[in-house]
Amino acid sequence: MVKKISLADKFSIFWRSLFIQAGWNYKGMISMGFSFALVPMARRLYKHDPAAYNAFLRRHLAFFNAHPYFASYALGAIVRLEEDIAAGKVSVEQEEHFKNALIGPLGALGDQLFWGIIRPAVFAFGVLGYYLYDDINDQLTILLLLFMLYNIPHLYIRIHGFSRSYRDGYQVCRILKIENFKYLKWAYMGLGLFCVGIFAGLNAPIPPHVYPMEFLIFIVSIVAAAYLKILKARTYFAMTIPILVALLLELITGTL
């Protein structure tokens, strides 16, 4: 009889996937969280076989890394493949090769989309909103908007990732390309860049001849920070050196 996971198991796996980075370490990376998320699968397949149950979890404690949200694509596919392994259709080695092949795309996609675009864009919107609105009720509304703007795509990726990859199995690799998320990417990129531009325009000390020092320090700090960031200087330097340079400038010109 082919063993398949139930809807309750899927919910349980999804809930556990929210802890996927709980035991992050250099040896296994997210493997501890990944294996923890697959426990309902192990219970379903090897309920009466402690040796196979433990072997299943131990197997999934091997090195694995992915973006925490995009790891759902791996979870769904692995759940599907484990059902096939239990049915004798797929070997453990095939599953391991597939899992290792997912590491690169899942990491790159998630880092590019969420860490590089969505998160900065959403919080740039938040900073602009806080700048424009002083009332705490308006700011709480902005926070709620922020929460939704960020977590709607976040939860969509987690839920859709799991269900789609469970359905597609091996074929899930076809959809793991940034082009398949281009509308999401463009929408948030546009939002973020627009908010940064508006914020810069609102804070620029104009006219320069009326506020010469403020304008000079504003430009110097922007250029210095951007230059250090492009050079991939450590965040601490990119953050503090422009401020120190700007203040030094003020001390020198103020003394003169």
Binding site: P120, F123, I222, I230, A246
Partner: protein, 229 residues
Amino acid sequence: MADSIFYSLLFGLICLDQRYVFQFNISQPLFTSTLIGLLSGHVQEAVYFGALVQLLWLSNLPVGASVIPDGNIASVIGTVLYIKYSAIYAEHGYFLLLISIFLVVLFSYVGGQLDIFARYRNEHIMNHALQALKRKDKKVRLGVYIIPSLLGHFLLNALLILTGIESASWLLDILYQKVPAILNIHWRFVEIALIGTGIGMILGIYHDKKKYALIGAAAVLILIIRMIH
């Protein structure tokens, strides 16, 4: 001290969201500073400081296995200190802002190093789990290994927040007596420097002509509107 303990326990828990559980990003400075403001009754100061710190940390990208500065915990420490001393340091307002930001940077570094320690600790826990999973007679519960890992993260977060607030308070108490108020005027451009730095760091991660064009177009539009009005 009681306040510091309260903040350390509450935000020690909330900051687990940063990397280890859920990751809904409620541990970001905008959220935590607003909460600190609501709890302390100093909403304006907390929100002002939190927004500035958020601007600085926008370009902080936790890519792969890289160790990034722990800006979220550091911003909790900085916000608590800023609202605590904003009344006491009334004559040193600009200096307080500058020192608070530098303390945020310092504690973000410490937090990053503690994260490395936590990762090695988790490796140790995982090795125990691997050993236990060699058993063939009894099912091993992985939750027994996840919980200590999370507890460890929580304790590290809480400890960092508590020691950060207390040690920085001690430092600020000394500085208040040593730094003459007359020097405060020299730090009056710290806010504009911080805003410029934050914008510059974002430009640094989006170094692309099309993206710069969009930012520039939005900025010019607003400048024109400001000039007309």
